[in-house]
């Protein structure tokens, strides 16, 4: 039997559930415990999240795929570490970041593919990332040799403050970014530089493919 709780109490109840869990709690669990629908629960969780960060509380709420988790506020990282005399965890090396990025954008993918892009043997680095639980095995590719496939984990999402893989920054496209172009009449179009005329007239700078620099 479930007494009806008012909004404030529901918020606090969810807070309690999240705290008791420690690890990420799936939305479904909260829905079931409070007998509420998913949309309502998500709304309340979002409200909690905003509250913690707006009030600059010591805890923050993370949204990782369909789960939610409390964590300590990064703003207070230093003093928290001081309280327990612990050190900041080491950051990932360049090779580790490269391998992780390749897997993040091309997952699921094999170690051989990673090697191919980097041009070097990445076995050690892949092992390292597995240990740190930033990537995990997810089956095998059905070709001779049946190599392992890898993908990123929820830990990865948390470490990079992403809610899902959709939040990964768009892969920069080398071919067109910052490229100077030649327009129809042979004039040079530089997407990065505002034209002199535009600045004179006070017009806003156009992103990419802007106005000609000189009259044709």
């Amino acid at each position: 039997m479930m007494e009806t709780l008012d909004m404030k109490e529901i918020e606090s109840a969810i807070e309690g559930i999240l705290f008791a869990s420690g690890e990420p709690v799936h939305e479904e669990r909260i829905c079931m415990a409070l007998e509420l629908d998913k949309a309502t629960v998500e709304q309340i969780l979002q409200k909690l999240m905003d509250y913690y960060s707006y009030e600059r509380r010591g805890i923050r709420l993370l949204h990782i795929e369909d789960s939610w988790q409390l964590c300590s506020a990064p703003d207070y990282a230093e003093v928290i570490r001081k309280a327990f005399e612990i050190r900041k965890p080491a950051k990932l090396s360049q090779p580790a970041l490269e391998v992780l990025t390749i897997i993040a954008y091309y997952q699921p993918t094999t170690r051989a593919y990673v090697d191919q892009i980097r041009g070097v043997d990445s076995a050690y680095t892949v092992g390292l990332l597995l240990e740190r639980k930033l990537i995990e095995e997810c089956g095998r590719l059905q070709v001779p040799g049946r190599p392992h496939l890898y993908r990123t984990t929820k830990n990865f999402l948390r470490a990079f403050h992403l809610t899902s893989l959709n939040d990964l920054p768009e892969m920069p496209d080398l071919a067109t970014e910052g490229q100077m172009r030649i327009g129809d009449d042979g004039e040079i179009l530089d997407p990065d530089a505002p034209s002199a005329e535009m600045l004179d007239r006070g017009e806003p700078e156009e992103p990419g493919g802007g106005q000609p620099v000189s009259e044709a």
Partner: protein, 261 residues
């Protein structure tokens, strides 16, 4: 500022805003043309690519822009490949040239990918700082209470008892008699077959696998012989060698005591 001039349709099919890109090198141009034509590097059609490549060069020429010599060199290289292919489809040298071109393109594309990855790393790296600054808790082990907390009706006990009784009917294993129609005592014990085989090997030395079955009169006997061979192999007492059609059997060692068949 004059209003933009809208151009009429151009003569060349390939005319589009995108074509007016600058390319770092001829390989980039070719890769671009391939993607525009939705072709894989492996499926490169020398005719299509050559035509479009030359069209691009001509455009630049029309604009009085300097064409880097490497672009011209690549053009002539493509023409060379095409010519040889036209002269003879099985031209090996032309094929080697194509392979070299394909390899260069693939390497170029890999480098492009690597370049993209490195730029992506630059974007991703600062985001990783977040993870270094937060702490999360592991779940506390939840103790389940030992006291029984549920409500139950007395009638539930009766139901439970009925369930137990119905199961008790099947509490003993079924009697052997029920299986007699399915499984009978083996007329040919595997063990004696095994000894037979070993006797044979001892007197005859090496023998053919199929010969072991020659005198078998019934299917049960064949099965027994076969099982005996398997058991002896497992115990490493005999060794099978050769091929499917020509298999020999040889004794490796004595039958150890206490081998169970």
């Amino acid at each position: 500022m004059e209003s933009p001039v809208f151009k009429l349709e151009k003569v060349l099919r390939t005319r589009s805003q995108e074509d007016m890109q600058d390319f770092e090198g001829p390989l980039d141009l070719i890769l671009f043309l391939l993607s525009k034509n939705r072709m894989e590097i492996q499926d490169i059609s020398i005719s299509t690519i050559l035509d479009q490549y030359l069209a691009w060069l001509e455009q630049r020429q029309k604009m009085d822009l300097e064409i880097a010599s490497e672009f011209v060199a690549m053009a002539s290289h493509l023409v060379y490949i095409k010519t040889r292919m036209l002269l003879s489809i099985e031209d090996e040298e032309a094929q080697t040239e194509m392979d070299a071109l394909i390899q260069s393109l693939e390497e170029r594309r890999r480098n492009e990918s690597y370049g993209k990855i490195r730029r992506a790393v630059q974007r991703l790296e600062p985001m990783g700082e977040f993870g270094r600054n937060i702490e999360v808790r592991n779940p506390e082990p939840i103790e389940r209470g030992k006291i029984y907390e549920y409500d139950q009706e007395p009638a539930d006990l009766v139901l439970a008892m009925t369930e137990v009784e119905s199961r008790a009917e099947r509490k003993l294993p079924p009697p052997r008699a029920t299986f007699e129609s399915i499984v009978r005592r083996e007329p040919y014990p595997v063990e004696s077959k095994a000894r037979e085989i070993l006797d044979r090997l001892r007197s005859g030395g090496i023998t053919r696998f199929l010969l072991l079955f020659r005198e078998n009169r019934s299917r049960s006997e064949i099965v027994a012989t076969f099982l005996a061979v398997l058991e002896l192999c497992r115990a490493r007492v005999i060794r099978l060698a050769g091929s499917e059609t020509d298999c020999t059997v040889k004794q490796e060692k004595e039958l150890p005591d206490g081998v169970v068949f």
